[in-house]
Amino acid sequence: MLYKVMGRDVFKDFVKSLISNYEFIGPKRKDKAVHDFVPIKDISELDINYKRTTIPPAKKILFPPDEKLVAYEVNEKIKVRPVVESSEKVLFGINAWDINGMNFLDRFFVTDFVDENYLERRKKLIVIGMDSEPTETNFSPSMDSEYAKDGFDLYITELKDRYFIRINTARGDEILKKYSVTENALVKDFKDYNNYMDNYRKKFKLDVNIKDFYDNFELIYDDDEFWEKVAKNCYSCGSCNLACPTCFCFNVKDDIELNLKDGNKTREWDSCMLPEYGLVAGGHNFRPDKENRLKQRYRCKLKTFLDKFGRYACVGCGRCIEVCLAKINIADNINSIKKEVSV
């Protein structure tokens, strides 16, 4: 990691040059409450002071809601070819927990088998991170995600009169050299950065008791009464999956075009909260109840990948809490599992 500082006046020009030289994706105000990460053509569209976003930015770009994977021609001879599309992009202003969410997806998509569709996009994505204001439902610090130590090219932190920049890749360093003027960060810059981080961390108000979840979950797992209470109002709508920066489930379907010659395989996001998720031909459903599906979601987020990768699959962004019409709250539920087991 290299550390640099950039003046306030230079910053704006830096962003402008990125916008004119790259396919640039950044936060734009959508309405009063939310921002959306969209292609930006002019700096006036960009609003880095965002709090809530629609679908998590990285997931949308690296793992689009529907994506062609394979194309084929069905003639006398059948020809099959992979579809791996990607172009260089700058993702600007993504915050630390969403970078950590992306880091999780990175690990996931290259484990066991390498998913080229994801990986190609990821390699070409220039990631420039910036902190954003946490929502009231955010519990990233409990999940060790309010700070990103990897997964970006540049991470820019706004101090009072300058920007503190962490440079994580050679690519990031080159971009900075090409489009801006920076100076090496000195003791004073680090001091200010530390103060900033101390204050930033104080903005996160929600704490979850995740530490003992790993074992306690096994005890609570068979407590039907507990899960009936927790999942009682769930509509099985899957919004919690759509909004989650680390959810990755998908379906694959084969289609043929109207010319009856060209076909393709496409993947589409799926959701583990939908009743059909565990359904197999013949009518057997491996997870027929919403209680089962909810606890499976919690297991996946909070336990499974601790076993597999040594990390949680939840970054504590709180999006699933905000989108849930049934007010099902992962943070509350983690805390109540702890309470339930301790009393």
């Binding site: 069905v74 099959v80 992979p82 080229e116 068979d222 694959v252 597999k308």
Partner: protein, 288 residues
């Protein structure tokens, strides 16, 4: 980016979702609802490189229609073609049943890092317990064992079918019965007038097996409801949970550990299975 990429993708194709072209060479109707398909890759190189382990499966594409996983049921030592036994039950399987010999399909795989551990099973007595279509994945193991018969002790198959007409692999079963180094016991739920064999669920036959605890392995495959009852019977016999192997089915959309539908706890049936030891399964809530 510090992406630490280690390529395990077997083919050097740039996408794990791309199937290789293959041809259906022969189709046999082996029961009212099941057909047996002989499949050969179009490209000889792919056929020569296609080595699978008993218990592994392939992802089969019917172009323009869909893809589904199927267990390979032929002998792994047969390098000329491989076989799938497919029940006519839905979209992809139905389309396959309507296909003619010579039709082209797509194949990805073989998949499944968890297969029947035939090496560990050497010098053991083997009980194979199958229900219905569950006989298909076990067939590749049986055929492997018969190919290397001297490496194994006693071999016994317990097979349960709904009706006599639903009994799969009848020719193979007849052949097994004619050999004296493998015993097979078939039971049906609903016997007809001609049926002279066993009647009832296959779990009923397990208590009769008298293989010693120390050197016996059991393998199980069948419909979801079967496992619980078979496990109860096997546990009564005190077989080590590390010597009982079960092949599981789940919904799969990719076969390569990405779509997540076959997730059970921290395991994925497609990459960690589909065969698991009873010890692994006991540690996986919802596996059974």
């Amino acid at each position: 980016m510090t992406l630490n990429v280690k390529y395990n993708n077997k083919s050097n194709k740039s996408s794990i979702y791309v199937p290789e072209l293959a041809r259906i060479n022969k189709i046999q109707q082996i029961s009212p609802t099941e057909k047996l398909f002989d499949i050969v890759f179009e490209d000889d190189k792919n056929q020569n490189n296609f080595n699978f382990e008993p218990g592994q499966f392939v992802e089969l594409t019917v172009f323009g229609l869909g893809e589904a996983p199927f267990s390979i049921c032929s002998n792994p030592e047969n390098k000329d073609f491989f076989q799938l036994c497919i029940r006519d039950i839905g979209n992809v399987s139905g389309a396959l049943h309507r296909m003619k010999e010579g039709s082209k399909i797509g194949i990805r795989g073989p998949y499944g890092n968890g297969y029947f551990p035939y090496e560990k099973m050497r010098n053991h007595n083997i009980i194979l317990i199958a229900g219905g279509l569950g006989l298909a994945p076990l067939m590749s193991l049986v055929k492997y064992i018969l190919h290397h018969r001297e490496d194994y002790k006693e071999v016994m198959i317990i097979y349960g079918a709904v009706n006599p007409e639903n009994i799969l692999f009848k020719d193979d079963i007849q052949y097994f019965s004619s050999r004296n180094d493998i015993s097979i016991c078939v039971t049906v739920d609903n016997p007809d007038a001609e049926w002279t064999g066993e009647v009832g669920v296959c779990t009923k036959l397990i208590p009769r097996v008298d293989f010693p605890v120390e050197d016996t392995c059991a393998v199980v495959c069948g419909p979801p409801v079967m496992y619980k009852f078979v496990i109860i019977e096997l546990e009564k016999k005190n077989y080590s949970s590390e010597k009982v192997f079960l092949s599981l089915e789940r919904r799969m959309e990719c076969g390569v550990g990405k779509c997540n539908h076959c997730h059970i706890g921290d395991k994925l049936v497609c990459v960690d299975g589909p065969v698991f030891s009873l010890w692994q399964i006991k540690n996986l809530k919802e596996a059974i």
